[in-house]
Amino acid sequence: MKERAFITLTDKFKDKLFRLAKRLLVSNEEAEDATQEVLLKLWRNKGKMSEYKNVEAFAMTMTKNYCYDKLKGKEAGNLKIVHSNYKDSRPSLQQEVEAKDSLDWVGKIMDELPEQQRLIIQLKDIEQYDNAEIAKMLDINEGAIRVALSRGRKKIREELSKKHNYGIG
């Protein structure tokens, strides 16, 4: 496969990889790095590309694994704050007041969700993959996906209504 053909192929889903990495790693820089790494890895193994049924899904899985490895590495190294533009996931009262924009607020709530829920909401609600595709990407069953979706969405709803009530009171 020629370089140009590879780039045209991957450009279709490159942004999805980036968004997934950003969802998990939070930092823009790290997400860019992750995207780059995954695509390079894919390029190096381009000989096997025809064996993959769905290159996009495969790349998404690779990105997920890459990010999980990164996150694990951080925990193991006992480094809590590594990325430069890291935002404290538990906002202070000050930040609560400042986060007037309710869209930002949804993002903050999502950053607090457990990794798996965050990942699945990203794939379903943002990238609009169907459950079967997600199940294959993450190698879990569809029931687990439904449960994670339900929990994650309810959590967002709950936090939003809390915030809404504060706003009135």
Partner: protein, 144 residues
């Protein structure tokens, strides 16, 4: 779309049971202008989701594997040229002749001439040092 249907879909949505097309319906509904106040919270949720799906990566992909090798050759060539250059210069300078005497007699004469000249200059310089004796004399006056 009627409110009752939306509420039903929402219920399903929070149980994680909606299909992609049903979720699309919800998204379309909640990104419109007018949403009843009790559903206002969901609006920000769905708006956030559609906003997030438009984020793009800014860095261009570089598949440098192929190009890197080309540049490696340039590097190797440059270092070979550099080393060769150094060696050539060294051998050149060692073979350079400054001129010499074939006859040992004349060589001796010339060497003597040079040494004489050196000692002459040294003696001339030494004469200036006479003044230093004054220091010695003064010092001896105080320290005995």
């Amino acid at each position: 779309m009627e409110l009752a249907k939306i509420e039903k879909l929402l219920e399903k949505y929070f149980e994680g049971e909606t299909t992609i097309s049903e979720e699309k319906e919800l998204k379309v509904y909640f990104t419109r202008e007018n949403v009843p106040p009790h559903l206002e919270n969901y609006k920000s949720m769905f708006e956030y989701f559609s906003k997030e799906s438009t984020i793009t990566a800014t860095r261009d992909l570089k598949l440098s594997a192929g190009k890197k090798r080309k540049y490696a050759w340039v590097g190797i060539a440059a270092s070979i040229a550099l080393i060769a250059g150094i060696f050539l210069q060294k051998t050149e300078s060692s073979t350079k002749h400054l001129g010499t005497y074939e006859d040992p007699e004349i060589a001796l004469q010339e060497t003597k001439k040079i040494l004489q000249m050196v000692s002459q200059y040294m003696n001339e310089g030494k004469q200036e040092l006479v003044y230093l004796k004054e220091f010695e004399n003064t010092k001896n006056k105080f320290i005995k």
